[in-house]
Assembly symmetry: C2
Homo-oligomer: 236 residues x 2
């Protein structure tokens, strides 16, 4: 029987099948971030494949940010398993100005609700973490240092406090993507940020979801106006 | 000089470097979905690598859904370049019941606004496509056939009509993820869906963003109640 082209396309290589099996193994064994896999020799025996097939499978899973190979140490489950660097393919959206605009619009949809959920669902421990992170951002701003990374962590914490398991995976992606295309680290926005973050933290501390929602709207609106101005000025 | 372990980890293999170069090539040449890359021989010359290195790089990019290899035909840019099958790592979230709940919550945040934007920004051509798709869903429901895929396309169309370039990349991921964990295709929800979809289409046809928002809220609320009931019954 002749094999058709369409069939050929759907036939997976041995390394692809092996990669799928490793994923199933991670899930069924309940392995989580940072957990170590058995060594190469044992993996080859378990999976019934040769070393070169295994290595190719591991490289595939590394490129999808599922595994991390630490040389001389072993193979580990990644810290954010399965969430690759640019999981929504932003690299391939051609109009970068429009992309930044659309990402800001997306944050306007998402983050006020995230803040409201955080006010409702946060634990005491999470509140302390948030207050600490807000203080780190303030200090960086007052020292005139870049606060982009610390700011991103502040917003990621809110995602975790929302109690929704999907939102924390999304937040840093959106944040990082904007950061990729536009450098706001040395912006004049810094001093507004301090007051706006404080308003968000206050609302979350007192468990007021509506206030947290509105404080986030105010913060993001200021951000949006500023970013659109930068885009215009820089003839981006 | 001795190379430290940490340094070893950051050294990329030749195939990883080659993969990065191919991505840069796609972006700088402005290649888009479905575009064909030069053949293997030319690529090897362009990139200055051997055939086995190239093939490994191409396999890596295939696993990240950036390239598609069609046997006997060539190497193409994928239809949704860079958006891999499970880009947010849902496979690795252990509590599936909570995940479904959280995905439904996420849709409740996102989709009413998507519908409102669609009512404001849609073109005539997009409206016709949406009406056609709504008819397809209705027909499948009336024939008692699975309408999951057609339903997903209905919601994806709304993402495109929103005029936001980020939202269409997100919609199908969320939708598919829910679908992965819970089969709703044969649900009793079907007949409600017809009326609810019609209300959404009507609002979008007449350009009424508020009505579109509210129609989507009603649709998703019904969905949410139904899904939570299924989860409970099935002791999921």
């Amino acid at each position: 029987m002749e094999i058709k082209k369409e069939d050929m396309d759907s036939i997976k290589s041995l390394s692809e099948v092996t990669a799928d099996t490793i994923v199933k193994h991670i899930v069924s064994e309940g392995l989580g971030k940072g957990d170590k896999l058995p060594n190469e020799k044992i993996l080859c025996e378990l999976l019934g494949v040769g070393r070169s097939t295994l290595r190719e499978a591991v490289r595939m899973l590394s490129s999808r940010n599922i595994l991390v190979v630490k040389h001389g140490s072993g193979i580990y489950v990644s810290d954010k398993p399965g969430v690759s660097q640019d999981p929504l393919g932003f690299t391939f959206i051609k109009d970068k100005k429009r992309l930044v605009h659309d990402l800001v619009e997306f944050r306007m949809i998402l983050e006020p609700r995230v803040a409201a959920l955080a006010a409702q669902n946060r634990t005491k421990e999470q509140l302390i973490k948030l207050e600490t992170q807000a203080a780190v951002v303030e200090e960086l701003i007052e020292q005139g240092k870049s606060h982009a990374q610390a700011d991103s962590e502040f917003h990621s914490l809110l995602g975790e406090m929302s109690g929704n398991s999907v939102l924390p995976n999304l937040e840093p992606i959106i944040f990082k993507a904007i950061d990729l295309f536009i450098d706001l680290s040395q912006s004049k926005l810094s001093h507004d940020t301090i007051g706006e973050h404080r308003a968000i933290v206050d609302a979350i501390r007192s468990g007021k979801s509506v206030d947290a929602n509105d404080a986030m709207v105010a913060h993001l609106l200021n951000n949006k106006i500023f970013i659109l101005k930068v885009l215009e000025q820089e003839n981006f």
